[in-house]
């Protein structure tokens, strides 16, 4: 079996918009069936993913054989002059034919067509074949990101912040709080993502020291996720905010994706029962302006903790 078109001699692909969300989820699941950390999706989850993370289905693709059998998938998020390669997967029995490289080059090409200057992605730490491919294509490491979990459960009283005054944020005010954020966050946690996912709740805390700040998070029926703390929150403030959240929702499972591994508040999360599930490496490829396509508008490379 080959993924080279017999007539043109070129690798073939088809834009992802030709498939339903159920079909895309099925192809993705088949491609990731033996992945280090399998994260299967159904059609609804795929539809949400596309909407929440600004996936452009014209710039996302399915690699095909010449008899139109699916070989792999890649999805591309686009925000302004940045793109995000995600959900890359190749069907296990089709690996070893550079299909992953073909799909990644497709994303880079689609990004150039859109005058994008930076392509970013995350790769699970330990996925050496994918990591090596990205290095080969010129991507550079930015930082490590954690996926962290906290099982449901009540916190010990000894963790309660002394004298902190905690009040809920008005839901309508949440977007304006998010504008105060440090922009150096992972794609899935950017303000655009949070505003798309919705169901956001927020708390404000003031400590006896005078320090104050806020936390915003997504509250799903069974899970808390997408946490944001106000920039430069001290450990005491972070503890007050997290304590308040988990006291208010003691029986909710919590999952936070793409939390910077070097973030100074990570020990506070650990103190409150969070565990590292696995790590990702965030990588960026800076695209040189293509004179044939005109001058690209420069976008500063984002550096983060």
């Amino acid at each position: 079996m080959t993924f080279v078109d017999q007539q043109t001699g070129k690798q073939t692909s088809i834009p992802a918009h030709n498939y339903s969300f159920d079909q895309l989820a099925d192809i993705y699941n088949r491609a990731r069936v033996d992945y280090i950390v399998p994260m299967p999706m159904n059609g609804k989850r795929m539809a949400d993913y596309v909407r929440h993370y600004d996936i452009d289905l014209d710039a996302s693709a399915i690699a095909l054989t010449n008899n139109k059998t699916e070989l792999g998938v890649i999805m591309t998020g686009i925000r302004g002059k940045r793109s995000w390669a995600t959900r890359l997967g190749v069907i296990p029995e089709q690996r070893g034919h550079k299909i992953g490289q073909f799909l990644m080059e497709l994303v880079i090409e689609k990004s150039r067509e859109r005058h994008i200057r930076h392509v970013q992605l995350e790769v699970i730490k330990g996925n050496e074949p994918a990591y090596c491919l990205f290095i080969k294509l010129g991507f550079q490491e930015v930082r490590e990101l954690l996926v962290i979990r906290r099982p449901p459960g009540r916190l010990r009283d000894t963790l309660a912040p002394v004298g902190a005054v905690v009040t809920p944020l008005v839901d309508e005010d949440i977007p304006s709080y998010l504008l105060q954020r440090d922009p150096a966050v992972a794609w899935t946690e950017e303000t655009e993502s949070l505003l798309h996912v919705g169901k956001l709740k927020g708390l404000h805390a003031k400590l006896p020291s005078g320090e104050s700040g806020w936390a915003i998070f997504q509250c799903l029926p069974f899970q808390l996720t997408h946490f944001v703390l106000s920039p430069s929150a001290s450990s005491d403030l972070a503890q007050a905010l997290l304590y308040a959240i988990h006291t208010q929702y003691p029986m909710q499972d919590t999952k936070i994706e793409n939390f910077p591994a070097q973030h100074p508040t990570w020990p506070v999360y650990q103190k409150l029962g969070y565990l590292e599930s696995f790590r990702r490496i965030e990588m960026v490829l800076e695209l040189a302006p293509d004179p044939k396509r005109g001058q690209n508008i420069s976008q500063p490379l984002r550096h983060a903790i």
Partner: protein, 138 residues
């Protein structure tokens, strides 16, 4: 004989698990999603749940958290059934109150016996040759 619910989205794996457990004399109900799994647990009151941690709708860990909040199911043994790296699997299983871990791929010769180990009154961890002591569940 026990009633076992297998919550697993990969049909090849769930069919194999069902076949091996049925052959060993157990009754098996398969659910492909977390939501269907919870419904099946509430309906059938199983003696044991085999729980894939990566499900297409609700995370396996979230399902386990929900299950443990139900008085009727607090003591139902839940076994994490996963292809995750062993260290991650055991750490998560321990944190979420699972009674054990069975890693994929399935060993067809030992699978049923391994599952049955967790039906004992005091389950012991099976199939964990290289797990550090502090990650062991019991």
């Amino acid at each position: 004989m026990a009633l076992i619910i297998v919550i697993e989205d990969n049909a090849l794996i769930s069919r194999l698990a069902e076949k091996l457990l049925t052959r060993a004399g157990h009754q098996v109900v398969v659910a492909e999603t977390g939501e269907d799994g919870l419904t099946a647990i509430f309906e059938y009151l199983p003696q044991l749940v085999l729980m894939d941690l990566g499900l297409p709708d609700i995370d396996g860990q979230t399902v386990i958290g929900l299950l443990h909040q139900q008085a009727a199911h607090k003591t139902t043994p839940v076994i994490a059934f996963t292809a995750w790296p062993a260290e991650t699997a055991y750490k998560m299983a321990k944190a979420y109150g699972c009674d054990g871990v069975i890693t994929k791929p399935i060993n067809t010769r030992t699978f049923a016996a391994e599952v049955e180990t967790f039906m004992q009154p005091k389950p012991v961890l099976a199939g964990t040759p290289h797990i550090p002591d502090d990650l062991k569940l019991q």
